[in-house]
Symmetry: C2
Subunit: 219 residues, 2 copies
């Protein structure tokens, strides 16, 4: 198909497609004349993946590039690819300089991960995200006395196992080909980002119900 049809079918404008081609996010079409190229289904699939990363994940172009580069490189494992997606997601929290409360929170996070026996790289941005929230909590004089971090962690680990199992890529089977890997990454980015929102919304609904049962007029 021509670029105009690729644009129509993908819902991505022609200038944006040309930008993706220049940045190397979209593989070039097959040149049929000096100024004309043919595109096919792989281009449509790639555009859908880029849209998921940009529109749902709100990833910067440089991160999208690292992910699509990894897709085509068989030496990059699926684990590494999913990590490239997750590590690029916001919010990115930077450690404040020399704040002892930050150091304490960061150590607490490291200790929790060790205690749980979780395999998480030292450079995972989620460590900083968790440290920042814990630090803010510790700075309050009246901290909520809810379930322990470990309780939350264990509940979420059960869900994460189900989530990761569902993204496909049977490790006992043959290696996933490029098309499978793209589908896995596409569904993973949607799962990571949209389910975070779903989790937050469901938690608020569950809290309203729990509060109604405990403090409501009808109880």
């Amino acid at each position: 198909m021509r670029v105009s049809e690729l644009s129509r079918r993908s819902g991505v404008t022609i200038p944006t497609i040309k930008f993706y081609l220049r940045e190397g996010l979209l593989q070039p079409g097959e040149a049929t004349a000096a100024t004309r190229a043919e595109y096919g289904e792989p281009h449509l699939r790639r555009l859908r993946l880029i849209r998921a990363l940009v529109e749902i994940g709100e990833l910067p172009v440089a991160s999208v590039k690292r992910i699509v580069d990894g897709l085509d490189d068989e030496t990059v494992s699926l684990h590494e690819l999913l990590g490239r997606v997750q590590y690029a997601l916001g919010p990115q929290v930077s450690p404040p300089d020399g704040d002892p409360d930050w150091e304490r929170a960061h150590h607490e996070v490291a200790a929790l991960i060790d205690e749980l026996g979780w395999q998480v790289l030292p450079r995972s941005p989620a460590r900083n995200l968790l440290s920042g929230a814990l630090m803010a909590l510790r700075k309050l004089d009246v901290a909520p006395q809810g379930p322990s971090l470990r309780t939350y962690a264990e509940r979420l680990a059960q869900l994460a196992e189900l989530e990761v199992a569902s993204v496909g890529g049977n490790p006992a089977g043959p290696p996933a080909d490029e098309q499978d890997r793209a589908a896995v990454v596409e569904s993973a980015v949607a799962g990571m980002v949209l389910y975070e929102r779903i989790l937050v919304a469901l938690r608020r609904l569950a809290q309203e119900d729990a509060s109604a049962a405990r403090f409501g007029a009808g109880s």
Copy 2:
């Protein structure tokens, strides 16, 4: 204490304290002269609550006003107060006009809440938050096949029950006085907002571990 000491002890600048006084968020001090007033511990506590709502909850001033008004009004139940906090939290999602996918997602959310038997007001903003994320998910051709919404909802309900139980206010005991109610609201806003971040961060860490176990080089 004078306003200067109130500022020093609360960490809130004098112009901001004066703004809170004008807006009726902070109760007036006891006038000791035409241009002088004395403040006490209740003012310090109120400022701490306002800071938690503004800095952690990022609530607009009008919402903070409704919450502090509710604190002083004994006809407002603790459930209603907690609702005022939660309903004011972002992100606020507005329904798009006449999108059939939105209608479908919104019905799905209502059906889920009914099925779970949850007491949630029709105007709860978390319904729209959930509908928006579900709609985005349904618009994808490759939706992740993870645990069902109901599975997530049930896990979160268990946590919400522990969370709400921990905010205090024994329903069998005497009604909480103004000071107790302020402490409950302060700890609830911190719990609602900071634990959302903690949940997201822990989920990402748990996913990395689950992915390492399933797709990692070491597995």
